[in-house]
Amino acid sequence: MRYLDEYRDYDSVQRMAQEIRRVSNRPWTLMEVCGGQTHTIVKSGLQELLPASITLVHGPGCPVCVTPISMIDRAVATALLPEVILCSFGDMLRVPGSTQSLLDAKSLGADVRIVYSPLDALKLARSNPQREVVFFAVGFETTAPANAMTVWQACREKLSNLSMLVSHVLVPPAMEAVLSSPQCQVQGFLAAGHACMVTGYEEYFSISRRFRVPIVVTGFEPLDLLEGVLMLVRQLEHGCAEVANQYTRAVAREGNRAAQERVSEVFEVTDRAWRGIGEIAGSGLRLRETYRSFDAEAKFDLQLEDPTESPECIAGLVLQGLRRPYDCPAFGTRCTPDAPLGAPMVSSEGACAAYFHFGRSKDDADLYMPVAAANP
């Protein structure tokens, strides 16, 4: 299959891994920002191919993980309104809110539907004029254009029964937050290729300069990730801190202008709370005033109790690369994908779930993946 097989080819991957082993002399800690990259790394056992001196830590780029609990509670409460059809991407359904997930709401009779695109919500709104269709708009810059397009289209069609529960977040402010932490151990970033496909990577130059950190825009296949690692290690070994683009087949420096224009027409930048991390200034998107009638939060003025979060789980530290999932005492025992305590145990992009599915327990990892386990 084109664009897949060549990036999963055994010989090419082994050659790239060998080159990384050849050029790396010192220990380096690198963060892959996007949950999709974490998924590939763990699913393909990629860490095993790297020298023990290179540690990959998993970043905050999992939309499911960082959507604040208050927003999950709001989605659940909205879904339980009898007139509402709540549409969501699939893996948001299992994320635990204060007391319930959307799947729990569904089992109580809420009309919750999995869609593959916000445009499906648009279709549902057209064909169910007597119902209120609410789309749960989560995600990074990658999903923002389609969501913006949907609102724009609904506005043109004067569809008054479609609205969005918007919890969009932006990658660069989160990277800055990670770098600003006094405990930050990250020495280089594999930036999220899909988000950059939309935004380009102009914004990264100032981050790279200010924090003296190399940033490589990287794709999602095993060979992409290894090449991204190689590009970072080469810079680090030479004391450089520059922005580079590994994912040239998809990403242009200026990004996709048409998509950016549609996004900024419909959305504006706002402060946003990140689950497990806290509020980060200028790190989210909300609907502009002109499109406020499509804002589900305003439309259904629900009074919710304060969300309840417990300090036991260490998801915030995992999302910043300060801890690994195995470091959590609840990992794999009190917290599993069937009964997730924290959001990173839910989506296959969440670091905890990725470790659980593909490594299951520290014991199993030590026994069956000895090389991977040798990396702290």
Binding site: Q14, T99, F358
Partner: protein
């Protein structure tokens, strides 16, 4: 920097979720916590695809299954095909020649008679292909809105013809794991209708009767250690159940697992893993390594298992600490645990 907290709500499991029927972890939990304690007996506790019973000197296998698929008619079959083949296959996986089926219908008020005819005719044809009569049945009709068109339950009995015990307890370190053909076609065919997906090539369900393949192995004198059809939860869940019941380590090679280009493409698009996607005409067989080549030749001569290949091997566990486990060597040469499916397979965001 802000302070770091993490959500820790109490897990609520006091209601049935769809995932309890998904064939993964939650289904197992339901069995272990509710059904097995309530109905405890030795035949049930073997937890095979069917129960093995000794009746008047004869060795019988008995099984039952309910079918609730939507859409009722899909590319390559209908709910009726599944209802016959699924139950016949459960018997075949016990090494039993299917002898007779029952069929119970729960029909929803307002169902088009033509749809019922189409489903029943496909059951007739599937039963004829499998050489097994439908000998008794039942019909109930529920109010409109209380069913989903048609629900079907079928039960089957068969005569065990396999000489030795077939099941996880017979699996040994050194056994090889064969699968009977490419994986995921049924699940993707169903999904393609539900999601309105179009593919370049035809995407048909693999629903089929597996008995001819099993019978061919048995009549050639192949000593079968374990058989499992790869339905809900796909290959991963089946292998996990066997590894866990046998207390052994199964290792499969991603590069050897057959998945058609269409299924791979659809899974990539939808964020699904073909190793968890349901099949209705595929099975895994565990045999001694010395029999592997001969078994593959025999399987490939049967149309239902023409695509049979070896995908892995069984090893001893590496420590008493670890229970049964399944690992996968990835295409690029890394390793990971291949876990049982948690909940339903949900499409990822991006």
């Amino acid at each position: 920097m802000p302070t770091f907290t993490c959500p820790l709500p109490l897990p609520t499991r006091e209601r049935i979720l769809l995932a309890h029927g998904g064939g993964g972890r939650l289904t197992n939990q339901l069995l272990e916590e509710i059904f097995l304690p309530a109905f405890a007996n030795t035949a049930l506790e073997a937890r095979h695809d069917g129960a093995l019973l000794s009746v008047g000197g004869a060795r019988l296998a008995m099984t039952t299954d309910s079918y609730v698929v939507q859409p009722l008619v899909f590319p390559g079959g209908t709910i009726g095909d599944l209802a016959v083949n699924g139950t016949v296959n459960d018997l075949a996986m016990c090494g039993a020649r299917p002898m007779a089926l029952s069929a119970g219908f729960i029909l929803e008020e307002g169902l088009a008679m033509d749809t019922l005819r189409q489903v029943v005719f496909s059951m007739r044809d599937a039963a004829m292909m499998a050489h097994v009569p439908i000998v008794t049945g039942d019909t109930k009709v529920v109010d409109k809105g209380k069913g989903d068109g048609i629900f079907i339950n079928t039960s089957g009995i068969g005569v065990v013809v396999a000489p030795g015990p077939i099941g996880p307890q017979s699996v040994r370190a050194g056994d090889v794991v064969l699968v009977s053909g490419d994986l995921g076609a049924h699940g993707i065919a169903i999904l393609s209708v539900r999601e309105g997906l179009q593919f370049e090539g035809p995407m048909l369900s693999d629903t089929a009767c597996l008995w001819p393949a099993v019978e061919a192995l048995l009549s050639a004198g192949i000593e079968i250690h374990c058989l499992r059809d790869l339905t809900r939860g796909g290959l991963s869940s089946a292998l996990n159940e066997i590894a866990s019941a046998a207390g052994l380590h199964i290792m499969v090679q991603e590069a050897l697992i057959p998945v058609s280009a269409v299924v791979r493409g659809a899974c990539e698009l939808l964020g699904l893993d073909p190793l968890y996607v349901a099949n209705e005409g595929r099975f895994a067989v565990f045999i001694a390594e010395k029999d592997a080549d001969r078994a593959l030749t025999i399987l490939r001569a049967q149309s239902v298992s023409a695509g049979a290949v070896q995908v892995g091997m069984v090893h001893e566990r590496k420590s008493d600490r670890s229970s049964g486990i399944v690992t996968l060597r990835s295409r690029i040469g890394g390793h990971r645990v291949l876990d049982m499916m948690s909940g339903e397979q949900l499409p990822r965001i991006c």
